[in-house]
């Protein structure tokens, strides 16, 4: 335990730099990215998640991808040693890798297999990866201890950790719940494979963002206390 908290304290010097305003701005941008993508899909391609899930998801993650990776790369760890471009590169690499993990998890949980759903699954897992793993990759790179701290232990320390951890968990848990209505026989179009899971994921993401914002504001008000707690 002692060792781990040492690691955290090293982190803290960097992570404390994000202000509540910065967090708000970042989360708003991420949220707006998704909203704009849906608006574009509706306005210019006249598709939405229900009518053409695969392509709207494609559009959403393409729009969201630069926003998330570029923004989170600003918060990168050890900004002295690691250049901005390198962080962006890490984020871009993390995107497909995270998507692979998420797709595997999704299939284990019951995502339909088959060529009909393949495109939808790929695009959905890329989007989910943008919510979860890609920002973490941009921020932490290959720091195993940090990854473990965020995703296995769920012990976020400092504002960046909150901003990574809570939306990611929110998106995953939201998707998990989002799968519940799928087998029901209401025969609604939104019960198709990636649609309701995406809705769940988005809702969870938003909730996670709001929660992380609250935590950041809370911790920025009492920075001293937070520091002590981490120690």
């Amino acid at each position: 335990m002692k060792k781990r908290s040492d690691e955290y304290s090293v982190q803290n010097n960097d992570t404390m730099k994000v202000s509540a305003f910065g967090a708000l701005w970042l989360h708003l941008m991420c949220g707006f990215g998704v909203a704009i993508a849906f608006w574009v899909a509706h306005q210019f391609y006249s598709i939405n998640l229900i009518s053409d899930p695969a392509h709207s998801l494609l559009l959403v993650w393409i729009v969201e991808c630069p926003i998330v990776i570029l923004l989170y790369s600003l918060l990168r760890d050890n900004s002295a040693e690691c250049s901005y471009l390198k962080a962006v590169g890490r984020g871009i690499l993390g995107l497909p890798a995270g998507a692979l993990v998420i797709a595997l998890g999704g299939i284990a949980l019951g995502a339909p297999i088959g060529t009909r759903y393949l495109l939808g699954t790929i695009n959905w897992s890329l989007l989910m990866s943008l919510f979860t793993f890609a920002p973490a990759a941009a921020v932490f790179g290959s720091s195993w201890a940090d990854w473990r701290r965020i995703f296995a232990n769920t012990r976020p320390v400092g504002s960046v950790d909150y901003m990574l951890c809570l939306p990611a968990h929110g998106a995953v848990i939201g998707s998990w719940f989002g799968a519940w209505p799928m087998p029901l026989d209401w025969e609604r179009p939104w019960q198709e494979w990636p649609v309701c899971v995406t809705y769940g994921g988005l809702a969870g993401y938003v909730v996670g963002m709001v929660a992380s914002l609250c935590f950041v504001i809370f911790s920025s008000r009492r920075p001293q206390q937070q520091h002590v707690k981490a120690e």
């Binding site: 595997l104 998890g105 299939i107 284990a108 949980l109 019951g110 297999i113 088959g114 473990r148 995703f151 296995a152 232990n153 998990w176 799968a179 087998p183 029901l184 026989d185 025969e187």
Partner: protein
């Protein structure tokens, strides 16, 4: 070792007690839930009429029985019945009768035209079927005139042949020659009744034309022959088109148009020969549906779309008088050409008795219908035709004569129904309530009282005084109809309603048993000396809470039909969820990382296997085995398809060999395991011979096909027997109980496995290896949590999660092996491995082994491994008592989990008892889970005794196959049930 024998018994007793309570509960519940009707073997005879109090028609005294008269005077000579399966009411009725015109309406214009022609005596009826609206049940209902339930007691399980008295049997008894063509269901129902038959297979739903073309081929020529009296032609095209394409589709409309052409030709042919002295001078034509269908082509339930069908009846005589309007329940309108067309109303229960009355054969014994006035009127032409010549009979005298006749028929009808009621009450296990019977008897005697008045008058009266009798006869008819209506109402309430009280009691007993099991688990916990939920270990209690949440959500999912339909996926979902959380935990603690990852990957693999298994549900049989068989066209792929299943076999053989190697002290077990390895090789050679890759001589082929499987069955049986005897006679002397337990369990598993794998087919080995890896992962992963040896946490918290996983894995395996919870989810092919001919008990046992092999037998026998592999690192040589305690606790927990599923599916069935899908989906699920539980409970008891006590291993096979017999028997009825996939209206509220 044992402090006392009584203590051991106090541990085993709960198992017995729980089994007892569960059986009581399930017995009570099923008594209330499964509607039963006893089939009576009696049949009506011509001579029975002597007992009838009805005064028969004023016949000439010197000529007591006219030639063709039995109970009633036969009014038609020949009958043509054309059955169009799944004929919706709106296929026949003109579209003007409906709010808006749909594309499939008015596609049988020939019937509408005939019905609206004023000169002809033809009529369209709206016929109401009784649920269950499946073809087999409906044909049974139509011919017996009863209300078939799903389980008619007294029926032989294997063959669905009707043993009750029925129309066809009466026809044959009266010497009528019956010709049948079309759907071969008729031949199943009436195997020896037809003079000539041209059956065509009905099970291939995708084939729209074979049955119909066969019918057409034989139907039209037959109309010119005179070697039959009753002709039945059963067309299936509309039913099949509905099942595959739905109603609003082009194939359906094409089918209807084709039928229109055929019907035109039939009517033409009949008409051409209907002149005096012609072949069809007195022929009656019936075109009818056996049930309706929904717009998606499903049927089986009780929604209006499914029960409304129609009958078109036509006689080639002309009548000049009309039926009094009180007797004719009909709706009139105009058809497309602006002509008046009337549609009458008929219940399908009335069909058998009405046709019997028209043909002059005795009414079927068990019929509870009434003679439909309109239909009977249409057919009664010949009785009054003689009047034409004698004198100028005017309208009213025809009518009176007919009324007289009809009252007489109704009297016989009422007497016959009353007789059936009395006999049924006297001879069946569950008769009618005495109050209801009294009420009905009262109505009957009332009607009969009328009759004696009217009868006296009419017998004393000559032709002249009919006028005065008409109102009296109408009252008489009303009285009889009232009686018959009250009987049918009573019968419906009896045969289509549930006994809520019994169901409620059963349910509460089941819930009570849950609590008893909880108490038993807690009690064992105390035995172990650790407190319930020892505080301080948050991770432990998190574990417990996770397991409880999973179990709870899964239990609740049984309350919805959609989740039951996807039960395998739901189980997989939870298994994967637990897997992910454990992976997360193992990353957190950096322990057993590879096992956690492996288990998650394995879930993915199982998921793929299940997908192939489940896709079999969608008609095409696409399990792994058949995918392998598809490859037969390619030479290389063919070899691969053989080698692929053999690789896991080698792995399996190696694993089981390794498990027992170097443990010379247990001789029998080693022999048993080696025997299984030998069996695996036999299985492989069986497949080689089957697959025809290598050309083998015919004799060898026969040996490979039949002798090898039989040899394997025998080997499996003898392995089990020797294990049992070994346990009985060779008391183990070793002190290493853990290893002892492992060797025992492995030997038991391997003894069972060879038969199960053989029955499962080529995917067997693959799944077996997957199972072993999954089980190994579960065993390893349970050590993620701190072990309990030091008494920090209880057995309960330690074992609950692994046991839950084990349970979920078992459920997943059930679905992975190509089964699903429906009666047609049984893999019938498995019952015929090694045998060509059908013997009920033997095949039922094989089917049971196949169905429950991977999902129940192996997991339950394998459960001791969970306990045995508990201390891999710490060398705590747990004593016999401690291991036994843990073992029985694990079994109790497993039992608790399965009984939760059983309880909730029972609850679900109780809630949805009126649901359309009760029979298609919930009931099999209930059976499945209950059987699960039984088996599990039994086996666990046996195991816990066997492994520690050293008493012989008896297997629950007898019980299991007994229950399964019921299972497979019922499935034969249900097999024709279409896949019910959506909510529909409730069955007859």
């Amino acid at each position: 070792m044992w402090r006392s024998r009584s203590q051991k018994w106090s541990l085993i007793c709960p198992f017995f007690f729980i089994i007892l309570i569960h059986s009581i509960a399930i017995f009570l519940f099923t008594r209330g839930f499964l509607l039963t009707r006893t089939e009576l073997p009696h049949s009506s005879n011509c001579s029975d009429i002597a007992q009838c109090p009805c005064v028969s028609l004023p016949r000439d005294e010197d000529n007591p029985l006219p030639n063709q008269t039995c109970w009633t005077e036969s009014s038609i000579d020949r009958l043509v019945i054309i059955v169009l399966d799944a004929l919706r009411y709106d296929f026949v009725a003109p579209s003007t009768f409906f709010k808006d015109k749909k594309p499939w309406m008015d596609k049988l214009p020939v019937l509408q035209k005939l019905a609206s022609e004023p000169g002809l005596s033809s009529r369209i009826f709206k016929a109401i079927a009784d649920p269950p609206t499946t073809s087999l049940q409906r044909l049974k209902g139509l011919t017996t005139g009863g209300l078939p339930t799903f389980i008619d007691v007294g029926n032989s399980f294997g063959a669905p042949a009707i043993v009750e008295d029925n129309l066809i049997q009466q026809l044959v008894q009266s010497g009528k020659r019956v010709v049948m063509m079309g759907d071969d269901t008729w031949l199943q129902l009436f195997p020896h009744h037809f003079e000539k038959s041209f059956p065509y297979p009905s099970f291939n739903v995708k084939d729209l034309d074979t049955v119909d073309n066969g019918c057409i081929e034989h139907l039209l020529p037959s109309l010119y022959e005179e070697n039959w009296d009753v002709l039945i032609a059963h067309f299936l095209g509309v039913d099949h088109a509905g099942h595959i394409f739905g109603v609003n589709t082009i194939p359906m409309i094409q089918k209807l148009e084709q039928y229109n052409n055929i019907l035109e030709k039939v009517v033409e042919a009949l008409k051409a020969q209907s002149g005096p002295g012609g072949l069809h001078e007195n022929t009656f034509l019936l075109v009818m549906g056996d049930h309706g269908q929904t717009l998606n082509g499903d049927h089986g339930g009780g929604s209006p779309e499914e029960v409304e069908t129609s009958i078109f009846a036509m006689s080639f005589k002309e009548y000049r008088f009309a039926l009094p309007s009180e007797l004719d329940v009909s709706a009139c309108g105009v058809n497309l050409d602006g002509k008046k067309i009337c549609i009458s109303y008929l219940e399908q229960v009335d069909f058998a008795v009405t046709v019997s009355a028209m043909l002059g054969v005795p009414f079927p014994f068990g019929s509870i219908g009434r003679v439909n006035p309109r239909l009977y009127f249409l057919g009664a032409g010949s009785l009054f035709s003689k009047c034409n010549d004698m004198k100028g009979c005017e309208n009213s005298s025809y009518l009176e004569e007919w009324m007289q006749h009809y009252v007489n028929v109704l009297c016989i009808n009422a007497w016959q129904v009353k007789r059936y009621l009395d006999v049924y009450t006297a001879s069946s296990v569950i008769g009618f309530g005495s109050e209801d019977l009294l009420r009905v008897a009262d109505v009957y005697s009332h009607a009969q009282g009328y009759w004696s008045d009217v009868g006296k008058d009419s017998s004393s009266c000559t032709m002249g005084c009919y006028d005065s009798l008409l109102p009296a006869m109408k009252m008489q008819v009303d009285a009889y109809l009232k009686f018959l209506d009250s009987v049918i109402e009573l019968a419906r309430s009896k045969w289509t309603e549930f006994n809520l009280k019994l169901m409620g009691v059963g349910l509460s007993v089941i819930f009570a048993s849950l609590f008893i099991q909880l108490i038993a688990i807690k009690r064992l916990n105390k035995f172990c000396g650790s407190s319930f939920l020892s505080a301080g270990h948050t991770e432990d209690s998190a574990n417990l809470i996770l397991a409880l949440i999973v179990v709870l959500i899964r239990a609740c999912s049984f309350l919805s039909n959609s989740y039951i339909l996807e039960e395998g996926k739901v189980a997989m979902y939870f298994l994967a969820t637990i897997g992910i959380l454990e992976l997360r935990y193992s990353i957190m603690t950096m322990k057993l990382l590879s096992e956690a990852t492996l288990s998650l990957i394995l879930v993915c693999v199982l998921r793929f296997i299940m997908e192939f298994g489940l896709s079999k549900q969608a008609a095409s049989s696409l399990d792994l085995a058949s995918i392998l068989e598809i490859a037969q066209h390619h030479r290389v792929l063919m070899y691969w398809s053989l080698i692929l299943p053999i690789l896991p076999m080698i792995l399996l053989a190696y694993l089981s060999h390794k498990c027992v190697a170097g443990r010379s002290e247990r001789r029998i077990q080693i022999y048993v395991v080696n025997g299984s390895i030998f069996c695996y090789m036999l299985i492989a050679s069986h497949w080689v011979v089957e697959s025809k890759v290598i050309h083998v001589p015919l004799l060898l082929q026969h040996i490979g096909r039949n002798c090898i499987p039989r040899l394997i069955y025998a080997a499996g049986f003898s392995q089990l027997a020797s294990l049992g005897l070994g346990c009985l006679f060779c008391r183990s002397t070793t002190s290493d109980y853990q290893r002892d337990l492992i060797v025992n369990t492995v030997a038991m598993l391997s003894a069972c496995s060879s038969t199960i794998i053989l029955l499962l087919g080529r995917q067997g080995f693959l799944i077996a290896v997957a199972t072993i890896v999954a089980a190994w992962c579960i065993m390893r992963l349970k050590n993620l949590r701190p072990a309990i040896g030091n008494g920090t946490s209880s057995n309960l918290t330690f074992y609950l999660l692994p046991v839950t996983k084990w349970n979920l894995l078992a459920v997943c395996l059930f679905f992975c092996t190509g089964h699903w919870c429906a009666f047609d989810g049984l893999r019938y092919g498995a019952a015929f491995i090694g045998f060509d001919e059908f013997i009920l008990v033997r095949q039922a046992i094989l089917l049971a082994i196949d169905t429950f092999g991977f999902s129940h037998i192996l997991p339950i026998f394998g459960l001791p491994l969970l306990v045995a592999y508990r201390f891999p690192n710490e060398q705590i040589n747990a004593g016999k008592v401690s291991i036994f305690l843990q073992l029985s606790q694990v079994y109790l927990m497993y039992g608790f989990l399965t009984s939760i599923s059983a309880t909730f599916s029972t609850l679900c069935v109780a809630i949805h008892r009126r649901h359309l899908m009760v029979w298609g989906l919930f009931a099999p699920n209930l059976k499945h889970h209950n059987m699960n539980h039984f088996q599990q409970a039994l086996t666990s008891k046996m195991i816990s005794k066997t492994s520690m006590d050293g008493s012989p291993a008896r297997y629950p096979t007898p019980v299991q196959s007994g229950t399964h017999l019921l299972h497979s028997g019922r499935s034969i009825y249900l097999i024709s049930l279409p896949q019910p996939e959506r909510f529909g209206a409730a069955i007859r509220q």
